[in-house]
Structures are given as structure tokens and as C-alpha cells.
Symmetry: C2
Amino acid sequence: MATYRAPVDDMMFLFEKLRDNSHYNSLEKYKEVNPDLAKDILEQAAKLTENLILPLAKSGDEKPAKLENGVVRTPPGYKEAYKKFIEDGWVSLSCDPEYGGQGMPKTISSFFDEMLSAASLSFKLYSELSIGAYNCIHRHGDDSIKKKFLPNMVKGTWSGTMCLTEPVCGTDLGLLKTKAVEQSDGTYKVTGQKIFITSGDQDLTENIIHLVLARTPDAPSGTKGISLFLVPKVQVKEDGALGSRNGVSTNSIESKMGIRGSATCVLNFDNAVGHMIGPKNKGLSSMFTMMNLERIVVGLQGLGLSEIAYQNALNYSKERKQGKSNSSKTKNGADLIIDHADIRRSLLNMKSIIEGERALSFWLAQQTEVSLHHKDDKIKEEALDFVSLMTPVVKSLFSDMGMEITSEAMQIFGGYGYTKDQGIEQLYRDNRITPIYEGTNSVQAIDLVFRKLVNKDKDIIGRYVKLIETEIKKNKNQKNIKPLADKLDKYLKLTVDFTNWIKDKMKNSKDDVSAACNDYLKVLGLIALAYSWLKVLDVSYKELSKNKKFFEDKIKTANFFFNRVLPRIDSHYKSAISGSKYIMDFKFN
Amino acid sequence: MATYRAPVDDMMFLFEKLRDNSHYNSLEKYKEVNPDLAKDILEQAAKLTENLILPLAKSGDEKPAKLENGVVRTPPGYKEAYKKFIEDGWVSLSCDPEYGGQGMPKTISSFFDEMLSAASLSFKLYSELSIGAYNCIHRHGDDSIKKKFLPNMVKGTWSGTMCLTEPVCGTDLGLLKTKAVEQSDGTYKVTGQKIFITSGDQDLTENIIHLVLARTPDAPSGTKGISLFLVPKVQVKEDGALGSRNGVSTNSIESKMGIRGSATCVLNFDNAVGHMIGPKNKGLSSMFTMMNLERIVVGLQGLGLSEIAYQNALNYSKERKQGKSNSSKTKNGADLIIDHADIRRSLLNMKSIIEGERALSFWLAQQTEVSLHHKDDKIKEEALDFVSLMTPVVKSLFSDMGMEITSEAMQIFGGYGYTKDQGIEQLYRDNRITPIYEGTNSVQAIDLVFRKLVNKDKDIIGRYVKLIETEIKKNKNQKNIKPLADKLDKYLKLTVDFTNWIKDKMKNSKDDVSAACNDYLKVLGLIALAYSWLKVLDVSYKELSKNKKFFEDKIKTANFFFNRVLPRIDSHYKSAISGSKYIMDFKFN
């Protein structure tokens, strides 16, 4: 079985040294969330994930969730763990105190998301979508709905889902067919089939609150006629007590490559009673509140699985002897594989990506909080713009890198990595969903380029580039950092060229843009990681004497990133700007 | 379930138009193997793999090989299929007619290897190692051994294995501990444990001929004290009849991520009677005869799995509608996903790699035959040099690309690709062994750079570069091809720089080389694919009018390769030449 130690030190480093957003630091709401409190929470979270959650990964993989007589049974141990999980208040970590939550910022809860993903993504998914549904109801529901449903969701005795996909539509929700017919009492009767519903049913909670996209009979076609409905599995009476079963049933659950402990359901809604959330025909935009936050969490899933894969590969490389290193001192016998340059290269590749990602997501968590809670609307909007720019990047980059890193970890284990015993191949299978769900990574790239890059009134990417330029300028005076800052400078200029190329092609050659968007996303992602590393370098040199080993490691890891990872940009750029004529002309038989 | 059509047209194109090796064409042995015969065999092979073998993939995955009371049971349907498979003579395709084989060259049998891998890699493995063992015995065994064992192996009623790995050694065979003690009758008693033995036991054949690496008591330590032994599962009497069971038993079988239909065994040898093959203490080099050919076959496995993944992704993209393409004409509703530029890009990425690989492996098959059968020793050796240079490249490149391509196919299927129903995720899991077994891809890179690149008396890479230069020169006069030939020229020069950098660092900074070898292998692989595409382009323009659609497709696909895939070289090169100081200095906690 894979082992796991939550990287609390690195998280605390970020929390103490890289809370660099003055708007975030001025938020009244989080004044009391100081490093001591953060450390206390992260240490408790570490204990929980390392001890209680980690063993659930294997049990969920070996004894997947199953459907028995119409009821989903979670894997052995899940029920007991979930009970403890909610008793200790972990579901409510980031929720509003008004509904019983602990009101912690994303600067902390996103670390917890990473830890949970590392320990058992399948288990995590049972509460993750609840938080998504909570966010959506909290933002768009009216007061009576919030009072009726949120307290139990925050407690974790009720859970939530997101019901979007149907057999004919995943990416393209405009095609959806589920119907919602208004009743005389103002409720709706919802009828249709939803597929790929994560935690669509389970035996962990007393009720499940489904958020369902559907059309009213008079709705316009396409995405402009979609409304959002709250449909509980068990109806809830006026006094909040549970009533009779609603018209929601589980048709089947998917047999999947990974996250086998998580029940992915086909749900049938048959005249199920629902409540409309938010304005009519605006359901898609309400759902996207939740969806966007969820996409960032998917990125964190990739990060968590990368971290545990790295840790296990590192440990194994310090135990396994094989072959002689170039500077071997052994006469007969072999050296530890960690002494081999190629294995070290692979480990540093993982480490430099993981720590860059963690720093980037910490920056994004600050921006997200500002976008949600700052009192100045302009500042709020500016932060939201950065969040919207980085959401597809973090989702895709971290999930793709998760594949690279879990795969590299398997390679280090050799044949042992391919067997079930070590738990390594499971990390790889579990992570393989992350480039797919919540919008495939190609959909993210299209979102980035067609919606975030080109904006009528604002130049979000231009502002983001400026941020990085400022950081580069600041660091060019430090002789240790200068060579790396110069490198980023060069690649940033190339990224600006690439951006201009895209904006130009957007006018008359949209296919060129579509065929380039995946490469563009990767380039921007690498730039964002390098930007994060530059800030880490700045702190590391300044604080070097205070924690020598820690900061020396950071400096060397940053060096690796700039020398070995960042140059991937060259190939992406060259390949992308070759256009699409020969692609569009091709006649696939 | 995944569907499959063997790409006979592309294979026949290569067989008819790219048998460009005059030494191969002059081999007396294969004079009669003309296009008509080739086509006949390939069409029969297509029928076999599409109808009989393909269904075994799913059954093997769902009902893996299992160990029952010490006996391995293959998945449902394997026995019946294997019976038909050997009755129709497929095991013997490339074997020596002297022992009952059909004597077909690798220019044909490697196509068959690809087809079988595509249809069911697990099923293929039951005969694949037999051919490996056959090759080894055929080359190194003495006549009496050959007469006693080969005919039944060629018939397929007996199978063979390669027993190298032990718990403490995979890559580093110098550490192996299995003992072989000579008996008064000249046989040996072999004792030890071997792990990861593909088809180590099964219920398909009457006997299994294990080729086992072991040490005699007086052997020197390390790799210089390893001998090779033939150890049958059931002893064979002088007259060839089966005798009593030998001291070989199956301790356990592995539960694996993929190729679950293939039994990967832990074998215990307990005073098992064995016969020494080849000279004492030279077992490793005898085994490597087999190993090297086997490594190329692993590359073909990656190619086969890539092809079937591509076919299924292509078919799905012509059925699934989602979103509007940039030039959409639909009003309500969605376009086929094949109309989206990004999906087309992904499909052409797969196609351009697959067809380049097939052409490269066809070239390598010709070289291999020349290296084995040409009457001129010098020509033989020159061909062998190319084979030895390209073996690690083909093994690693095709298996890595297999991961890329099966993964891209999954992305095209979206959520459906992650479920078991479509059979796509299985291709991905099955292929994931190919970068690991027969020497991990890192071991291949080390082999390439430390053994093949730097050679005392000869400059193999220099000769290979010359071959490509000649092809470039030839094509620079053709105005249609010139831009692509120029591109290859530029990247070839960069590859020469990279090679010189490696040779220079080899003197005093071996860690720089070790940390660069994976990138070097990828660069050389991309160059080799581009070289193959250049030859295909040449033919395609010349023959355009004869088969317009076919050759136009080739030309466009080649364009894709040169514009979108070849530029990956830039990043590999830049990253690799950054050295290794910061890698070797790093202190992993």
C-alpha cells in the first residue's frame, strides 16, 4: 500500500511567507486566521488523512462501490470513516458560520483538498460535491431554501451532487433534455436521466441534495433555456424533518478504470419534486459558480495524487539497489537507485512541478477569497478575472502533470509498480479521471482561449503578464536569481507573441486557434509555475540563513524547474503556430 | 468492446514500396516472398486477429489468469483460440523450416506482431516468449537440444519462457542468485526463485521450456558468472516423449494493472533438471540475442495498441456530436466532434506517429534480416549495428508513444473512455507495461547512450546520420518536399550537436550524460520517424496519380508530423544540455 505524509512544512512555508496579496491580507473576515491556527488545522488534517483516510484507498479499489437492490453500498470502512469525518467537522471547514461552518479561507481548505485527494480521492468525492452544491445554494438559493437545506449539508449528514451530464451531452449542455414542469405550489416536477453523477447515491448520509439542470416546457432551446433545480433524494418537510422518498432512483453505477470506491451513478428522475434555484433560464450560469470552484479542486486532486506518488517513488529509490551509479564506490553489488542521475532527474522533475503547483494554487486561493469577499467591487472583479484566467489552467495543467508524475513514479518502481501490491498503479488509474471530468482538458483549453483570453472590455492576460513582469524586474537585481529571471523573461516574451498570434488568428482563422489552444494552455501553465517559483526563490534567498536545508532545497528545485521544465514552452509554441490548414483539409476516411 | 481492422493496406504499401534495402532484397532465402504471398498472409492474419483474437482481450481482462491448486488457468476462450492458432501454423510463421517453421521474414512477421498486439496483447504473450526462447535455442543450443525441443515449440504444443528477474534484480542481473549445480550426466540441477515470468505457467501447452539464467558454484560474481539453462516444466525423454514433472512450480501469479489475461508468475526451481545452453558464464550474452529481438517486439506491441486506440477514437469522433465547430452549419444541435479542429489535431497526432512508426519498424525488419542472413559478414555487421542502435529507440519510443496515443484516445471518448464498457481504458492499461518490461525505458536510454553511441572502433550514429543526410539531399530537389526536408535537416544538425555534446561529456561528466539520455533517446526517435516519413513522402509524390486518396493522406499526415511532432526536439535538447550539477547536488531528505 502507498504511504503518505502530508507536506505540512511546505504548506506552512507558503502560508507564512507567500501570503503576498495585500487585498487578501486586508480581508476583515480572515483576520483571525493566523499561522498558529493554520498550523493547528493542517496538523490535525494531516493526522486524519494519514491515518483514517489513507487505508480507504485500497479498500475502495478492491471492493468498489456497488448497487444492491437499487441502493448504493460504499466500500468497506467508508461508513465508519465518514461518521468520524463529519463528527470532527471536516466537511464544514470552509462553510459559512451562519449555517454551522467553520469559515476557513481557501488558503487553508485548498491544502486540505490536496491532502484528502492524496489519501483517497474516491472517499473525498463523497463530500467534495457536497461543498460544490453548498456553494451553489449558498450563492443562488433564497433564504428559506438555505435555512432548510444548508445546515445539514454543512454538518455532513446530508450530501450534495451536481447533475449536468446526460447521454447525449457532456461538454455541450445546450443539448440537454431533462424536463421540469411547474406545479401549482411553485415547486417543479423533474423528469429525465442524468449520467456520470459522482456520489449520485451512497449509504453515508440521510439525504442527498441533487442540483439538477433541466428545461421548463416554455424554455428556449440551447443553453439559454436551462434552469437549475434542487431535488432532494428524500423530501424535506416544512419543519426540516425528512418526509417521503422523492422520484429519484439509481439506474446503474459505472465500472471504471479508477476511483472505484466512488459511486458514479446513472440517476433517473421521475416526476421528482424540485425547487428552482436562481432565476429561470439562468441555471447554467448559477451552476458554473460551483463548476469553476470545482475545476480548481480537480487541479488540487492532481496535485495531491502527484505528491503521494512522488513520496512513494522517493522512498523506494532509497531502498532499492540496482546497477552502479557513475560515481559508484561499491565493488560487488549495486547502488541505491537514488544515486543514479537519471532517477534523480525524474524525482526532481516531479518535485519541481509539485511544489510549483502548490505555490500557484496558494496564490489562486488568495485571489479567490479576494474575488468573493473584498468590499471594493473593482478589486473583487480584478481578482475574479485572474481566477477565471487561471481556473482552466490549474484544472488542466495539474491533472495532466498528475498523469506524468504518477507515471514517472511507476517507472521508478519498475515491474513492481505495475502490480497491485504497491498501490502505485492505483494512483495512476485514480488520477486518470482528472483530465476528463468537470470538462475535459481540451474543453478547458477552449474556455481559456475563446472566453478568457479575448474579452471585450478588458485585457486580463495583459494584466497577468504585467504582474509577472513586475516580479521579474524586482528579481533581476539579485545576482543569484537573475539568470532564472532572465529565462522567464525570455519565455514570457514568447508567450506574449503567442498570445498576439492567437488574438490575430481569432479574427479570421478560428481553426488555427482551436488547433493551438492545448499548446497555449500548457505554455501559460508553465509560465504560471515559473512565476510562482520566482517568488519562492526571492523568499528563499532572503530567508536562507533561517532554515538552510529547506531553502537550499527550494533553490535547487527551482533551478531544475527553470532549466529542465520551462523549456517545454519552445516546442509547444513552435508546434502550435504551424497553423491548421493541413489539419482541416485532411479527409478522414 | 474496442473494434479492430488490421491495417493491411498500409502494411502492403510498405511491403511493396519501401522494401528499399538492396541487401535485404538480395537475400536468397526470401526470394519467393513476393507481394502476392505477403498479401495473402496478411489478409489471413487480419481475419484471425479481427475475429478470433480480438474477443479474448475483454475476456482476459474481466476473468484474469488465475492460479488454482498450483496450476495456472488461462481466461475463458484462450484454450480454444490457442488450439486454432497453432493448428493454423501461426506460431511457426517466422521459424526455421528445418524444424517445421514457415520461414517468413520479419518484414512480414513484424506486421503480424503488430496485429496480434492490437487484438489481444495478453493472448499474444503466450506465444511471444516461445518465439523468443526458440530464437535463443536455435542460435545457441547444440544440435541434439535443437532436435529435441524445437519442433514442438515451432508447432506450439510446447511453449517457452525467459527466466531472468529475481526479487533483488531486474535491471541489474549481476546480482542474481539462482544456482545450477552440474550432475555426473552433464545436466544441471537448478535451484532458485524467478519472478515476473510471463507465461511462466499456463494450461495451453503440453510442456513449457524455461530458459533460466543461473550461476554455477564456481562462477565469478557479477554478470561474468551467469550461464543459461534450458529447464523444461516436464522432463523430456531421449525419444522426445514426455517424462516426469521437473522441479519447477508456480509459487504465485501477479495481480496487475493490465495484461490481466497473461499469467505473470513467480516460479520456484527446486533441483530442477536443466541443460546448459551456449558456453559457461556467457549466459547473459546468449540471452541477449533473444532479449534484443524481444525489445523490438515490445515496440511493436506499443504500435499495435496505438493503432487500435486510434481506430476506435476515429470511429467515435464520427458518431459523437458535441458543440459547434468553427465553421458550423447546424442551427440547433451540435456537430460531429471530428469537425472540431482540436479533435482533428489529436487524431492526426496519433496517425502521424503510428504510420511513422510502422515505416520505421519495417525498415528495421529489413535491417534485422540482413544482420541475420546476409552472406557478406561486413554487410551483416553494418546492419547489426543499425539494429543495435535502433533497438532501444524503437522499444522506448513506441511504448511511450503508445501511452500518449491510448491516452489521447481516452480523452476523445471523454467520460465514456474511463468506463470499462468501451474497452478504451483497457488499451491504456495493457500498454502501460510496455515502457517497463524487457528493461525499463530508462534502461533503454542508458543502453543507447552508453553502449550504442560510443563505440571503440566504429561510429554507428555517424553512419546513421549519413543515411539520413543522403535521403535529405535526394529530396531537396523536389519542391514539394523541400520545406520538410529542410526542417529535418535543421533538426538533424541539432541532433549531431547533441550527440557531440554527449560524447564530450562522456569523458568527464558521465552524470550529465545519464541525466540527458532519456531526452537523447526521444530526439533520436523523432529523427528516425521523420527519416521514415521522408521516404514515404518521396514515394507518395512519385506515385500520387496511382492511388490519389491514399497518397494525399500520406502527404498531409507527413506535413502534420514535421510541423507538429518533430519540434518536440527543441525542448528535449534545451532541457538536456543544462547539465546535472544541480541534480547531483540535491540532498533528498
